[in-house]
Symmetry: C2
Subunit: 261 residues, 2 copies
């Protein structure tokens, strides 16, 4: 199976993209809802949680893993990932590659959780590919609870987005990276507030394309993946709210399986 | 020592009240910041966390414990608390007793996290004391992240409070219980939006008074408590944000001690 994890609901936007780009592939998802959110916690704590989640997905038979969480992707070192036997994808590099390829003026905005922004990882990766790029980052910690509450269409959410995006608008960015897997659920509002001319890059789509490209060229991994269209959804805490938002995100019925952390 | 725990920062409003009403008493606090928040999680998960936290505080030498978290107080059964050897206080009963005593028309509003409101505990406890009371409850899940972000004075917070309080205003409540230990930090805004005539009851103050009254009449417990003014602050995750808000809440310097959950 393809194993995917996130602190909670956000990673389901990655699942949605994987289902679009790799229809029929079996997917197992783990949402760490008993310890969510990750974005306000320290790197050490998040690394510990992420490694536990990877172990869990391996035990469930994953032959490839996607860390569908920008916070985890920012703080888990490549060396930590390399110790595992299966390919492990993070969500940052694919978005960065896409951005650097398409940005006209290389004036790039990044929004994410406080942990992601504090890690400085987007700036580091963008500058490694394109040293002259200007990168402006802003932490938007309230967007995660707003999405989890289903406040996607409320005017208060619009106001908060406007406030968060203001410094990036002033800097006249030409591309904006949604550096948190929750944010695609607010994409319309974000696009409207940052302006039509700005290219909004969604890391969920970027990573799904990257995984597809990888499987196209790695038949030995691809053949290990079952393609019966099975989707299993594990969570460390079961709440009605999660089920509701999961159904809305995936536009299909879901059945939560509870696992203790 | 007096042991106090909460999912994160909110319980420090209880510590502040304890320091006012019982100056000089040693206090040990545990903020479960690695798993915060509790209010959006299921009762089973919160009960498990709460019992672990009580064990931790007992190991640190607590002779009396305050669950300074409405969510934990709502879902931990009295039978679970009775198994421990020390007196354990929850924050709900003191606020309910105060409310029923002072409310003129017994039209009572309650705001809290989703878990607290779903538990129906305030309504149950109010009606046990005063069967004719009318109780109107509203979950305000976004107020916790707004406080944790330090957005206490922002206009967006005012708008969100106004929206949450609207149904209670329509019901013409004469008393409003702040059923979450985070909310005292928003008390001014809440008082302004619900109206000057409404009595706003703060569970942090209510529980501190209750603990003081208990110690005044239970010398055998009181004599076990050291009064050297020591305050120890344990957290399961260390972040700058927590330290900042803790200093602001207690108006003194704090030193975080890290403990793994």
């Amino acid at each position: 199976m393809i194993g995917v994890f996130d602190s909670g609901i956000g990673g389901l936007t990655v699942v949605r993209s994987l289902m679009e780009h790799l229809p029929g592939y079996d997917i197992v998802y783990f949402g760490d809802t008993a310890r969510t959110p990750y974005g306000t916690k320290s790197p050490e704590t998040v690394v510990g949680y992420a490694l536990e989640n990877i172990d869990f997905l391996l035990n469930k038979g994953s032959a490839i893993i996607v860390m569908a969480c920008n916070t985890a992707s920012s703080v888990v070192a490549e060396s930590a990932v390399d110790q595992f036997d299966v390919p492990i994808f993070e969500v940052i590099t694919p978005a960065v590659e896409l951005t650097v390829k398409h940005s006209k003026h290389l004036r790039i905005g990044v929004i994410g959780t406080r942990a992601t922004v504090n890690s400085g990882i987007y700036e580091k990766k963008i500058k490694a590919l394109s040293p002259g790029a200007k990168v402006y980052s802003t932490a938007c910690p309230l967007l995660v609870p707003l999405v989890e509450e289903g406040w996607v269409k409320k005017p208060e959410t619009t106001m908060i987005i406007k406030k968060y995006l203001h410094p990036l608008k002033v800097r006249q960015v030409d591309t904006l990276i949604l550096g948190c897997t929750h944010y695609p659920l607010l994409k319309d509002k974000i696009q409207r507030k940052i302006g039509k001319k700005v290219d909004v890059v969604d890391s969920s789509t970027a990573v799904a394309k990257k995984v597809k490209a990888f499987l196209d060229t790695h038949a030995e991994v691809d053949k290990q993946l079952v393609k019966k269209g099975v989707f299993r959804l594990f969570v460390s805490d079961v709440t009605d709210q999660f089920e509701k938002t999961a159904r809305m995100t995936l536009k299909r019925n879901v059945e939560l399986e509870h696992v203790k952390t």
